[in-house]
Symmetry: C2
Subunit: 360 residues, 2 copies
């Protein structure tokens, strides 16, 4: 029984999302290295294992440590935090670890401090402009590659990009355009380096492009993460349908103000995160309300949304015609704006059939 | 040594904030019932105990359970979540618990389900319009009071308001205006009910008004919370100076992009929260950077701010003249936008002298 804000996981939707992405990787003959930063759960990880997946991506060394007992090939898709060299060296002793390099300083540091073999990808900026070297910065790339040859423990694996600018898209067409441009940008490096490194891997992998694109002929590996749960942001981008969203936050009603068409729930910024979405009709929102089916959720209820969040309170705008259907003690099911951030705030998931699933 | 994002607490600043608010309550002869939702730490709670404080406020029943071993008089300043009646009944067995009521439905439910004595405040909406009854809704107030008389376990304590609209202020003058209007609104109930309830308490308590106002003659109790740490929002409102901010997030530099005057830190939305602030010069920001003094922080560095956050990445805008002063592996000290939300994401604080302080 739900008594307080609880993140509910629809296992069957989640497994369908996993199978769909796995199948797409197989059809395209690319390595499937899913990003586990969204679910951060050994148990959900096993749903991938059942399909034969044996390589994963994470976004921190701590996450790599959490998954290391069950996953032996992990890429940390985040610029190396050299202050955690001890963690790196303890990981390389037990798993095949791949790191992300984008500077001479970092490769120098690893040269001097590694105690075991590490694979590395050079991070390429394929248009998002968050991190990485531009594909044209071949002088820096050459310098990094040349320095890495001084260290037997550093093995070059290939080039890696994250087309995070796909999150600004609002249609499948826009996503496909980002995909083509981003893939062309990083794949342009293949010609230049493939003779020196015949096994080099071109790795890409945001959820929007991996969900929508069908042509992966220029890449070798995909690393989507959010698709495991999807969310309202992905739906707004055009990357998923609402019925592909696999998590909802169940929140008790604690107050009803019909004079201003508002329901107050126990469920605030510490449960949803403060991630918001600009909705075309409602302005900034923090979630949409779906029918509570007891053992899951159904359709989105029109005109009902999370208008504001304090630390523990959520303010739900409710149509005047609907508000009399609710009473204090009812539980609302709310689809989150950004499932990665919402999931990060809970210690476990509760499935629609009542099973508890642990997280990191 | 800092190796990853760490919330640093300046104990001496924090203790000064506590003493200042405690002294103000004493000068004004009002009950000091600090809100512990910001720090959520038994150890920091003891810094209040040392001064003689023996009553606290929290925002959830779970938080009340956490503090119950050391605090015997707790108000849960959140509309009663009736689904947690078991927790309520286990708390009333061990502490003096005060709940917040704003509906007939809730008082009816408690009438039927309580197993021990509970104090209750009627929540008054003094202008924020989040929860509570308007001061003019005396018919509803009378109905709640009348129903409460049917239950020996329900004891009326008084009226409680939270002037959360003070967060929209941008000067001390605006805060004082909110304070006067809000206090007048709730205190207007004293005349009507004081004959029936001679001990009734008028309780108010947001950090902005409690920090700035000096006249509390119409109230009996204050419940500020955020003042223990303060933050950039409170500074923007006009509630504190920058040197009263007691927490900073220490984050390692993992990449430097001088071609676009950007530093990338390990420190993202899962460390800061996605709470943002509209800065008059920089637009939306997620933090300001202060000089890292090794054992704490100094002045704010002009023109340097957290421009964007992903899940684990923070993007720092850096003036062109400054960027060469930094290298990968350096640690930046960042003052948070909203300390309640940032603190909620950590399991402990590390003081500037290296001591670990546990949280809930």
């Amino acid at each position: 029984m739900i008594t307080k804000p609880t993140l509910i996981l629809d296992e069957s939707v989640c497994r369908k999302n996993i199978v769909a992405m796995f199948s797409k990787a197989q059809r395209n003959d690319v390595i499937f290295r899913p990003h586990f930063k969204t679910h951060q759960s050994l148990e959900i990880g096993r749903w991938f294992k059942e399909l034969g997946v044996d390589k994963i991506t994470v976004s921190s060394l701590d996450m790599a440590e959490y998954f290391a007992p069950e996953w032996k090939d992990i890429t940390v898709a985040f610029p190396v935090n050299i202050l955690q060299i001890k963690t790196i060296n303890s990981l390389v002793a037990i798993i095949r670890l791949n790191l992300l390099i984008e500077s001479v300083e970092t490769i120098d540091f690893l040269n001097e401090n590694l105690t075991g073999e590490v694979g590395f990808f050079i991070k390429i900026d394929s248009g998002y402009h968050r991190t990485g070297l531009a594909p044209g910065e071949t002088q820096k790339i050459d310098e990094i590659l040349s320095l890495s040859r001084n260290c037997k423990l550093l093995k070059f694996r290939g080039f890696l990009a994250h087309a995070g600018h796909s999150y600004k898209c609002r249609s499948k067409e826009e996503i496909l355009e980002i995909h083509e441009n981003s893939v062309s940008a990083i794949a342009s490096l293949t010609d230049r380096y493939v003779d020196q490194f015949p096994d080099l891997i071109i790795s890409v992998g945001d959820t929007p492009t991996c969900s929508v694109a069908e042509d992966f002929s220029m890449v070798d590996e995909i690393r989507p993460g959010n698709f495991v749960f999807y969310d309202l942001v992905q739906n707004q981008i055009g990357a998923c349908d609402l019925d592909q969203i696999a998590v909802g936050l169940a929140c008790p009603i604690v107050a009803i103000h019909d004079e201003r068409n508002v329901i107050v729930i126990y469920g605030g910024g510490v449960h949803f995160s403060k991630e918001r979405l600009e909705h075309e009709n409602f302005g900034s929102i923090y979630g949409l309300v779906a029918e509570n089916k007891g053992n899951g959720w159904g359709e989105i209820i029109p005109e009902m949304y999370v208008r504001n969040l304090s630390q523990e309170h959520g303010i739900i705008a409710v149509p005047e015609s609907e508000i009399s259907n609710y009473k204090i003690g009812d539980v609302l099911m709310i689809l989150p704006v950004h499932s990665c951030m919402t999931a990060d705030l809970v210690s476990h998931y509760q499935t629609t059939s009542g099973k508890m699933i642990e997280r990191i």
